[in-house]
């Protein structure tokens, strides 16, 4: 069972709260959720929306069309009417609103929507008619009447109850599901501590529900212990679990929510290994003056032995290039959580993308070992955040953890047992006390010199080429050996980290889908859809790009009929990285660079197109 739902509204108008409340209700009712928030780089007034997949089994992707679209403003209808296949709930009072009077819609988009509406006209009524003619049930709701009634009942001014429309929209859509009303009412009273708001929304919700009749016949399901988390939180939790003690950040979308979460949970509970006593320990969180400071401060902290990290996204990462190089040169374990958003430059700051992969792989002048991992879903985000620290300390090198905005701001429900990490040992690598003649950069077969913490022994660090002691050295033979020692670590890592941990494989077929990051979910969900049509494909998901699992990928891709690269970029970067390492070329490409996540429907359709017509390049464009 799978149901897709959407709500939209202006930023700052309470649509966030409404969507979360709806999600919570469904979660409580035992459903798995995968939801994503799309929004403009704007604080108030521009259009934002939530796209939610609700299912009795875990799902990891979005759909292109939704069963239910619930709205209370005009823009949401204009932006999304063509995406609805089941029910469209709209504000009756806005029927005559014309598209060109909705100022928050960008001129390009007005043109496009007008073209789409064509002869239907240019009003909400036209859009609704368009949908209705395509078989959508359209449900007008008199939100103004509801607001007036609520204001009257509570004896407050109309302006006070303005926001009841959000919850009314949620409630109307909830009413279609066939679930118990009390679930929703409980969510409302949990969400609104303020008594007036709680009452107002309860009344409003009931009124709205009276407009609709159950249409989807959903039942409550038994729930295991489940959490609802977004990618930012998953990463933060993973870091904290791994023992993070120092996090720096400079505000940037979509990364800073991670740091804000850590800041709000700055005192963590720890257990004293010797006594078993529990106590609070501090995580130092510093909002720095810029990302140059953020990365270098984290590096400085890492030298003292704390697990230190920073989190940023494209523009900030660009500023970290030099610092990451120093960490590589000085063999500092530091984790950089890299949230990828729409690029280049300021780009689409609140949208998603995967076009920063090759930059992450090549950041910083010169050659130094770096480890780059990429998560494909929320559980991976959580566990990779732990893995990242283990890798950083074991190989004494910066680790870049890639998470796309499409995961960061997406949320999902996960069975708590999936977050169990007790099988992941904490690995701090070669740590020593130091002592008198300690040599921080002692040459070693595997490239890894025993590391002492700054403050425990005396030692030297420099970004210049250095000798074993850490003093500047320009001697040719020292240079050759020290450089090779550093690079050797990557070979050691390549030998030690099982390739099967660096690539995930799902299914088996002569037709392979190659992807990484968030498209994983869409591909997995599409694979189920394809399977119903009797089509089997194999998914090869790249989890670590450096050191690259060359042998395994070569083996996996050799002799396949089709290698279909699916990516949120223009040039298909992962495919070119694969080719660089293996010489094997993707045969087909499915690419999307409009900043919106890839949906399972798009994957489904593209794969069919490719298998049936051998389309070389499919360009995707779903998402308003």
């Amino acid at each position: 069972m799978i149901l897709t739902w959407m709500i939209g509204g202006a930023q700052g108008s309470g649509v966030d709260t409404a969507a979360n409340l709806f999600g919570n209700t469904l979660g409580k009712a035992g459903y798995y959720l995968f939801g994503n928030r799309e929004y403009y780089s704007n604080i108030k007034g521009r259009h934002s929306y939530f796209n939610l997949t609700i299912s009795d089994k875990p799902k990891h992707s979005l759909s292109e069309k939704v069963d239910i679209l619930t709205t209370f403003d005009a823009e949401t209808v204009f932006q999304h009417f063509h995406e609805v296949k089941g029910h469209l709930i709209y504000n009756k009072g806005l029927e005559n609103t014309k598209i060109d009077t909705v100022q928050s819609i960008e001129p390009e988009l007005v043109e496009e929507i007008s073209r789409r509406l064509g002869s239907y006209g240019n009003t909400i009524s036209a859009a609704v008619k368009f949908a209705a003619e395509k078989g959508v049930q359209v449900i007008p709701i008199d939100y103004d009447q509801i607001a007036r009634d609520v204001a009257f009942q509570l004896k407050v001014a109309l302006s006070v109850v303005e926001r009841v429309k959000n919850i009314a929209a949620v409630a109307a859509s909830y009413g279609l599901l066939g679930l118990k009303e009390e679930y929703l009412m409980q969510s409302i009273s949990r969400s609104f501590r303020n008594e007036l708001y709680s009452k107002m929304n309860t009344i409003g919700a009931k009124m709205a529900m009276s407009y609709v009749k159950p249409a989807y016949d959903m039942k409550e399901l038994p729930v295991d212990k489940r959490v609802q988390i977004d990618g930012n939180t998953a990463s933060a939790m993973g870091k904290i679990a791994a023992g993070l003690r120092f996090q720096t950040y400079y505000p940037i979308t979509p990364a800073s929510d991670e740091s804000t979460y850590i800041e709000a949970h700055q005192e963590v509970l720890t257990i004293d290994p010797d006594t078993g006593d529990k106590k609070r320990s501090p995580i130092v969180v510093v909002q720095t003056e810029d990302e140059l400071a953020a990365v270098n401060m984290a590096i400085g902290a890492a030298l003292t032995g704390v697990r230190a990290a920073t989190a940023t996204s494209g523009p900030g990462f660009s500023l970290m290039a030099e610092g990451i190089g120093w960490a590589g040169m000085d063999e500092v374990p530091v984790v950089i959580t890299y949230y990828i958003r729409g690029a280049p430059s300021t780009g689409l700051p609140t949208r998603s993308g995967q076009s920063d992969l090759k930059f992450a792989l090549n950041v910083g002048h010169g050659e130094f070992p770096r480890i780059v991992i990429a998560s494909g879903d929320h559980v991976e985000v959580f566990k990779d955040a732990i893995w990242a620290f283990n890798l950083a300390e074991r190989y004494q090198t910066p680790v870049i953890h890639l998470i796309e905005k499409g995961l960061a701001n997406a949320y999902t429900t996960v069975d708590v047992k999936e977050l169990d990490y007790s099988h992941i040992p904490g690995d701090r690598g070669k740590i020593v006390e130091g002592g008198e003649n300690y040599l921080r950069f002692k040459l070693a077969e595997d490239g890894i010199s025993p590391r002492a913490f700054l403050g425990r022994a005396h030692m030297y660090y420099t970004g210049d080429e250095h000798n074993e002691e850490g003093h500047i050295s320009e001697a040719s033979s020292n240079r050759i050996a020290m450089y090779a020692k550093r690079m050797k670590k990557l070979e050691t890592a390549d030998a030690e980290i099982p390739e099967t941990q660096r690539v995930s494989v799902f299914g088996d077929s002569e037709n392979v889908i190659l992807t990484w990051g968030s498209p994983k979910g869409a591909v997995l969900d599409a694979m189920e859809m394809l399977e119903k049509d009797g089509i089997r494909v194999q998914l090869v998901q790249l989890r670590m790009f450096s050191p690259f699992p060359t042998r395994y990928v070569t083996k996996l891709l050799s002799g396949k009929s089709k290698i279909i690269n699916i990516e949120n970029s223009y040039t298909g970067q992962a495919a070119s990285v694969v080719k660089e390492h293996t010489g094997i070329e993707a045969t087909n490409h499915v690419l999307k660079w409009n900043g919106r996540p890839i949906t399972r429907d798009e994957v489904y359709r593209s794969i069919k197109l490719i298998l049936e017509r051998n389309e070389k390049k499919v360009i995707l464009d779903a998402g308003a």
């Binding site: 963590v268 720095t288 902290a301 030099e322 429900t413 040992p425 904490g426």
Partner: protein, 302 residues
């Protein structure tokens, strides 16, 4: 205190003012009887940036990136407040490329000591104008006279929020040593502008030039004794810092220990920081993580 296996050869030019700073810094560290293992010199890039490699005491050195020493140093100090962190950097390093960190570090007042090697040139890149070089001056390596106005580091530091702001002269090693000691002892961010002749590239602000002009201030009481005095002492310090020409004052321009340090401020939000050194925490014990996240997970249970 044990000697190093073999001290690094010091490759500064003969007569460089940096030698005086090095000596004064060594003496200050020795006289304060600091635990040398816990002393960390963090430096930028430039002639001045090499100082940790040249120090003959077994302290630790972190020779960082051009302009970024303050960021590194802040990370070191906050992760392990038990360390004594001293930052050395050139005028290009701290006030040119590093000016953003310089200003913003003042706002934190972390308990570190910042020493500016003020030679008015970019030494290691062959003598270009540094931010403290006066407009119109043309030291020998400039093809044309400098067209930028000079930064006044003292005024800038006071305005930025440093709570100890002073000036020394690199060849008056004893005086400089005393000021460095005071700076290290000061609770909060201490900034020291050290006039440092560069005999190789700066043929204007030479030893002789300085020694005709410098004097030790005795008439300024720079210490803030109660909060109400702050603005007055700051502006007096700033005003005095504009004295430059025939007479150049040395000494403390401003000092205020009433401002809480960044460490104290962190502790005000996270009380456990008061008696926990993050760097000393055992975060992994026999392969097991010691941090518990059950509460965090429970917060998110649907």
């Amino acid at each position: 205190m044990q000697a190093l296996r073999k001290p690094e050869w010091n490759d500064w030019c003969p007569g460089c003012g940096d030698f005086g700073i090095l000596s004064a810094e060594e003496m200050a560290i020795k006289e304060l009887g600091l635990d040398l293992k816990k002393v960390v010199l963090v430096s930028g890039i430039g002639c001045s940036g090499k100082i940790p490699h040249f120090m003959r005491l077994p302290v630790s050195g972190v020779h960082t990136l051009h302009g970024r020493a303050l960021a590194f140093a802040t990370g070191v100090k906050l992760a392990n407040p038990e360390l004594e962190v001293i930052v050395n950097g050139g005028d290009g390093d701290q006030l040119g490329i590093g000016a953003g960190h310089f200003v913003n570090a003042g706002r934190r007042n972390t308990d570190i000591t910042v020493i500016l090697h003020d030679n008015m040139v970019y030494g290691l890149t062959k003598g270009q104008a540094a931010p403290t070089l006066k407009r119109g001056e043309k030291p020998k390596s400039l093809p044309r006279p400098n067209i930028n106005d000079a930064i006044n580091p003292i005024a800038m530091a006071i305005a930025a929020g440093y709570t100890f702001v002073a000036r020394g002269y690199s060849y008056d090693v004893k005086f400089l040593k005393d000021i460095i000691k005071a700076a290290i002892k000061h609770k909060g961010s201490a900034f020291l502008d050290v006039l440092q002749p560069c005999p190789t590239y700066n043929d204007i602000n030479t030893k002789e030039w300085y020694e005709k002009r410098i004097y030790k201030m005795t008439d300024l009481d720079p210490v803030v004794k109660e909060p109400g005095e702050t603005v007055e002492k700051m502006t007096k310090g700033i005003a005095r810092s504009y004295e430059w020409g025939d007479r150049i004052p040395l000494g403390i321009f401003y000092q205020n220990e009433l401002v809480p340090t960044y460490e104290e401020r962190i502790a005000s939000n996270a009380p456990s920081y008061k008696n926990t050194v993050p760097a000393n925490e055992k975060i992994v014990h026999e392969g097991k993580f010691t941090t518990l996240i059950d509460d965090l997970i429970n917060e998110k249970v649907v």
